[in-house]
Structure formats: C-alpha cells, structure tokens
C-alpha cells in the first residue's frame, strides 16, 4: 500500500513524550517511526539494549512505551528478543494466545556494532522472526561520546580526541549493514530521517512484516556528540544522503536495491562542516583529512552502485 503520510501520522502514538532523551535526539525519532510502522491492532514487544534510549525511556516507574518492553543488558538485546519470540512461538503452538505480536529489538551502535554484535549475529543466524533496529549515532553517547567501531574516521570522540598530534579517530567506520547482509537474512536496510519519513517508514514496515529476521540501520544524529545545534538534525541527515556518506539502500532476499540516487553527489565536507566533531579537519594543514574522507566515501559509493547494478 502506498505510503500515506497523514494516515500514518494520525495513528495513536506508541512512543510517548515525557521520556528523558536530550532535546533533538535522533533516537526518539527512530522509536516513534518504528512504532508507527506497526499495523494498528498488532501488538509488539520491544527489547532494548542498555543505551541512552533505555535509561531515558524506562526510568522507573515511567515508561515511554505503550507496548510491552524489556531491557536486560547492554550486549544482549537480540538474544533477549529471540527469547521473547521463542516464547511467543510456543504459546501460539500450545494455543495460549491469539493476538499477533511483533518483536523489535533496538540498540545504539555500541550495543549493536560492538558489545552486542555476537548476540545480534547469533539471533539473525538462528532466524528469529524479529527486527533489529540500530539507532546509529556513531559513538558511545550514553557514557559520554567515546568512539565506537561505528565512529567515522576523523571524528573527534572523547577517547579519540583531536589534538596537536591527532586528527580524531584513526579507523574508518565498520560497515555493519553490509555485514548483516552477509548473514543472508531476508531483509536488511539502511535509512535515516528525511522529508516525510517515507523511506524510513517503508523500510521499517517491510522489515517488521517480512517473515524471519530483519535488520534496519538508522543514522540517528546526536546533537551533543556530533556538536551541532539541535534544530540542524534534518539538514545533517539530508547531507549524509546527498554526499553519499549514508546511502539509502536495502537488500531484499539477497538483492541489493539503491533507494536514492543524488542528482548531484555533494562533496563530503558539506556533511562534515555542519558538525563540531569534524571541526579540526577544516584547520589549515588538515585538508588531507577531507580528501581522505572523500576518497573513502567515493570508493564505498562505487562499490555500492556496482552491487545495486547501477
């Protein structure tokens, strides 16, 4: 069914205000969008990795979730979710429940790319009927902006600060979306917050309503960690896509689909210059960092185009 923005936005809110995420936090947008992608009438259980989101959305006795929710630890959202799904299967089989439930795991890049990676990989391999959403804000924000394997090269984080002898993080960002695609699960996608949220919504909906495991990677800017004024979030997301730093694509049953081709691919500095974490890259003498970042994006983009048959 075609995306109808007004209809989708008129649904009852399933991730409510009153949570304690920072003003302008991208994670809140992922949660709202993810829950909106559920068909009305379908119930859900959310399994949350320890993260900014967790400590902000279920601070006893206040839950921001209208649906059942479980947080167990930092590194095991996927396995916990698998356990809930297993319980559902057996309860269904034994005729103990009639309702349809969907199982959504959600973690930040720390709980997904790094400490929770084994748990995620295992759950996806086992084929649980669940979706794992990663709200990727490219560092351990909950503990104070330490680098993760998702932090892009040259970003300044509190454990990879820029300094007279440092231009920020030394390594490139791990490509988790590709790694998840290599699990040969039925659905993998990456998206972010754009325009009327059509891209996000359609991917979240497809992920939830694909039988078997699915993974959605959502670039979710963090104003504090990326050092930008809160209201700049939409612009940053737009630039991530227009520069091809964060291409929109999905892998359906092993087939790669590019969802958006920029009319004119913008230089990567258009994305970087909006954020304080790359500020040092623009200092005289550090021009090479931007060149290197550009080269990396270009290489990745060409590979992606080839994979998507473009």
């Amino acid at each position: 069914m075609a995306y109808n923005h007004k209809v989708e936005l008129s649904k009852p809110e399933r991730f409510v205000g009153g949570h304690r995420l920072c003003a302008g936090c991208g994670a809140g947008l992922v949660c709202r969008g993810m829950m909106r992608a559920l068909d009305e009438g379908d119930k859900a259980v959310i399994c949350n990795a320890t993260s900014c989101l967790e400590v902000s959305s279920f601070l006893y006795p206040f839950t921001a979730w209208e649906d059942s929710y479980i947080h167990s630890a930092f590194e095991n959202a996927a396995a916990t979710c698998g356990g809930v799904e297993a319980a559902y299967n057996v309860m269904k089989r034994r005729g103990k429940i009639d309702d349809t439930y969907k199982f959504l795991a959600i973690g930040g890049d720390g709980g997904t790319y790094d400490i929770g990676f084994q748990s995620l990989s295992g759950a996806m391999e086992r084929g649980h009927d669940m979706v794992y959403f990663c709200y990727d804000n490219e560092a351990y924000m909950n503990t104070g902006i330490q680098r993760s394997s998702s932090t892009p090269r040259f970003a300044s984080a509190t454990t990879t600060p820029s300094g007279s002898c440092s231009v920020g993080k030394k390594q490139n960002k791990k490509d988790l979306t590709e790694i998840m695609a290599a699990h040969n699960i039925p659905y993998v996608a990456q998206t972010t917050f754009l325009g009327n949220f059509k891209d996000f919504h359609e991917k979240a909906h497809r992920a939830i309503y694909t039988e078997g495991p699915a993974f959605v990677n959502v670039m979710s800017p963090c104003p504090r960690g990326w050092q930008y004024p809160t209201e700049m979030l939409p612009e940053i997301c737009k630039m991530a896509v227009e520069t091809c730093v964060w291409p929109l694509y999905e892998i359906i049953d092993g087939e790669w689909h590019l969802n958006y081709m920029p009319k004119k691919k913008l230089p990567v500095e258009e994305f970087m210059k909006l954020q304080g974490r790359f500020k040092h890259c623009f200092k005289p003498g550090n021009e090479w960092t931007i060149e290197a970042a550009q080269q990396y994006v270009d290489e990745k983009w060409e590979k992606l185009l080839a994979r998507c048959g473009k």
């Binding site: 923005h5 007004k6 209809v7 936005l9 008129s10 809110e13 399933r14 991730f15 409510v16 205000g17 009153g18 949570h19 304690r20 995420l21 920072c22 003003a23 302008g24 936090c25 991208g26 994670a27 809140g28 947008l29 709202r32 969008g33 909106r36 959305s57 279920f58 601070l59 006893y60 006795p61 206040f62 839950t63 921001a64 979730w65 209208e66 649906d67 917050f193 325009g195 009327n196 949220f197 104003p223 004024p229 809160t230 209201e231 700049m232 979030l233 939409p234 612009e235």
Partner: protein, 101 residues
C-alpha cells in the same frame, strides 16, 4: 502493592513498589513534564500552517499531536524546545523564540 505508576513515588515504602521494577501499563512517561527543560519555544501559527505534517514525525518528543490528518497545538508538557519543527516547516508556520517563564 501499588499497581499504577501514579501511585509510586520516591516516598513509597518498599512494600508498595512493584517487584523488580516492573510496570503494568504503557506510556507512564507522560507523567514526566519534560517541557520544563525548554529554553526556546516553538510558536505555531495555524493561519500559515498548510497541515502538510512534515513537522510531526520529526518531533523526538511526540509533542505535535495529529488527529485525523491535522496537527494541533504543541504539547508543551513534553516539548523540549529542540527547534527541529521550526527548521523543517516549509511554510514558516512555526517560529522558534526564547521562552519567557
């Protein structure tokens, strides 16, 4: 034992708290008034608003209520004043100003 979040507070004795910190209802975070965090406030002009609803999904705090395809006044109990809605409005129907408290 208290069953509802509204009956639980920092004066509740241990016998009154739910075991393991469970909560048996959804959306109790609404009781938290995060609107107090705000320094700047969005101001909506219904006259200029074309009801395109581009602002609504961009609110991290679910503070732009939408009913039957039309948005209403901000939920100032929960709006933290991030200003994203002001930025995404294509029609200048949302202003973003310092809040006088």
């Amino acid at each position: 034992m208290a069953k509802c979040a509204k009956d639980i507070n920092e004066q509740s004795p241990w016998q009154e708290l739910t075991p393991g910190g469970e909560i048996y209802e959804g959306g109790t975070a609404r009781m938290t008034i995060t609107g107090e965090w705000r320094a700047n406030i969005p101001v909506w002009d219904p006259q200029k608003c074309k009801q395109c609803l581009l602002c609504a999904p961009f609110c991290p705090d679910a503070s732009i209520p939408v009913t039957d395809g039309r948005r209403g006044e901000f939920d100032f109990d929960h709006c933290k004043g991030c200003g994203i809605c002001w930025k995404v409005c294509p029609f200048g129907a949302i202003d973003f100003v310092k809040e006088e408290k």
